[in-house]
Amino acid sequence: MKQITVISGKGGTGKTSLVAAFGQLAKNVVLADCDVDAANLHLIIKPISYRQEPELVRSGFEMVLDAEYCTLCGECEPVCRFDAVHILPLPEKQGQLLPVFDPLACEGCGCCADICPTEAIGIRDKEIGYLFRSNTRFGPMVHARLNIAESNSGKLVTLVRNNAKEYAEKENRQWLLIDGSPGIGCPVIASLTGVDFALIVTEATESGRHDFLRILELCAHFKIKSFTIVNKFDLNEDVTEKIKSDAKKRGVEILGTIPFNPLFVEAMVQEQTILEYAPRDKSAQILRDLWEKLKTRIT
């Protein structure tokens, strides 16, 4: 079983469209959408049925005040390094001053609870989102929804991966394809560690190239072998050549290039992969060739 994570550095380069197409071509596959901030794969590869109920995921902590025990000593406010505790007059308590926790700022460290002399601040597990395990027309899929403004994306990414891996192993699937998120931070790192290969989808723009160099460095940092595909290559063939040269200098193979094609959007609108929507289009054939090439390199 081979695990491949598709990442990009820059957003909007075409990761999800590519994962959907490769998911179709892979035949014996489990899909994992690790872009838990803004999951999109399930919009093309719609769940037909759910293997389990959506699972509520808990990670980290949030603070709860028991007002009866608060003596208003005021220690909690300055000890917080995240500007998440403020002593404010509460309208619902007739203007009484009490500590109020800002859930957007709170990072669940518990320092306020630890310093409270009367244990008026309690700590409880925080609900951070939901995990979905489904069957799709291409195989099992695991995806997740991280609650708005949450900060525990790494944990949810890891949960998606672990569940997907379990299906892949138990059901003898050959491929685990992971749709990653843009950037280089914790959700990306959590989707990269321990995979067999990274597939970097970049685009033929200077911004794409700039971000490509950073994601290449990230893969090298975590010692993950990577392949690259340059999407929208004909938008700027100069930059495409520079990207090819950047990759070559670092011993990273460019698997191929894909031309800019509005059919990708049309396919997405129809909730289809480009192979389903326009099977005879040149781009569809390019994707088939890329998949065959990737398989040869990996196996």
Partner: protein, 285 residues
């Protein structure tokens, strides 16, 4: 523009055109502006602005350092850490810096005063200028997991730059980096595309704006590539559509060369000026 205001350009989905909008409205405005690129993981705005750099400053977070002469190995630090960032091997505490949130809990919990908090570099801040634009961005070190502390440093630097309008180029997504980049701004511009992915992520981004209680409006970019669902959604939800920009291959090509569209011709000048006027108008409502 006499009162200092902050406008953030965000999206949910990556690649919708945040940087294009941020850079071009900063460049087309007659008054001085501060442009703060808060996408510290993959900053791009500097490629377009090409500022003359004035200063560079490392940004650090505090991590615990253990004084083994004073440490007795009983692990009060490990016990209090809610991120499981400290383990104790034998009698030696070991920190996993990528898990540490710099809360100071371990430092306070140690009964032997064996912990000092030391700064560790996570990236750097750079400030520069070009024409009437004061430019600031952050660049996170590769391998770092958490961007919010660096984003916070960029926001603070922008606030300290003076009284001019601040335009923030936010990262994609809807979670903590975006919250840090956009909290307490006066107005949020959500850039989307009229596709199922664009709509799905717009809904999440809009929820983010509502949770933060920030006025917001939408720009539909590449407005002719997709379907009408995004427009229907905005209408149903009474979200102002500030502009609807059709796809132009020429604009995409200029973007690929990191060109500032408003400097290329008057058509783009007019487009972005109008857009900026719309934003300012909706802000005043």
């Amino acid at each position: 523009m006499t009162v200092k205001k902050e406008i953030a350009i965000a999206s949910g989905k990556g690649g919708t055109g945040k940087t294009t909008v941020a850079v071009n409205i900063a460049a087309c405005w007659d008054d001085p502006v501060i442009l703060a690129d808060c996408d510290v993981e993959e900053p791009n705005a500097h490629l377009f602005i090409q500022p003359t750099w004035d200063r560079k400053k490392p940004v650090t977070v505090l991590n615990p350092e253990f004084n083994m002469d004073l440490c007795d190995g009983t692990g009060a630090c490990r016990d209090v850490c809610r991120y499981n960032a400290i383990i104790v091997l034998g009698k030696s505490p070991l920190l996993f810096p990528e898990l540490c949130h710099s809360c100071g809990g371990c430092y306070r919990a140690c009964p032997n005063n064996a912990i000092t908090e030391v700064p560790r570099e996570i990236g750097y801040l750079e400030c520069g200028h070009r024409d009437k634009i004061n430019f600031i961005h952050g660049r996170m070190n590769i391998g770092e997991a958490k961007s919010p502390p660096l984003i916070k440093a960029v926001r603070t630097a922008a606030r300290e730059q003076g009284e001019n309008l601040v335009i923030i180029d936010a990262p994609p997504g809807t979670t903590c980096p975006v919250i840090e980049a956009t909290r307490k701004v006066d107005y949020l511009v959500l850039v989307t595309e009229p596709t199922p992915f664009g709509l799905s992520d717009l809904k999440l981004a809009r929820e983010t704006a509502q949770i933060m209680d920030i006025r917001h409006g939408v720009i539909v970019n590449r407005s002719d590539l997709g379907n009408n669902d995004v427009f229907d959604y905005c209408r149903q939800e009474n979200i102002p559509i500030l502009a609807s920009i059709p796809f132009e291959k020429k604009a995409a090509q200029l973007y690929s060369q990191s060109k500032i569209l408003v400097k290329e011709n008057s058509h783009y000048q007019a487009l972005f000026r109008n857009l900026f006027q719309q934003i300012l108008k909706d802000m005043e409502q």
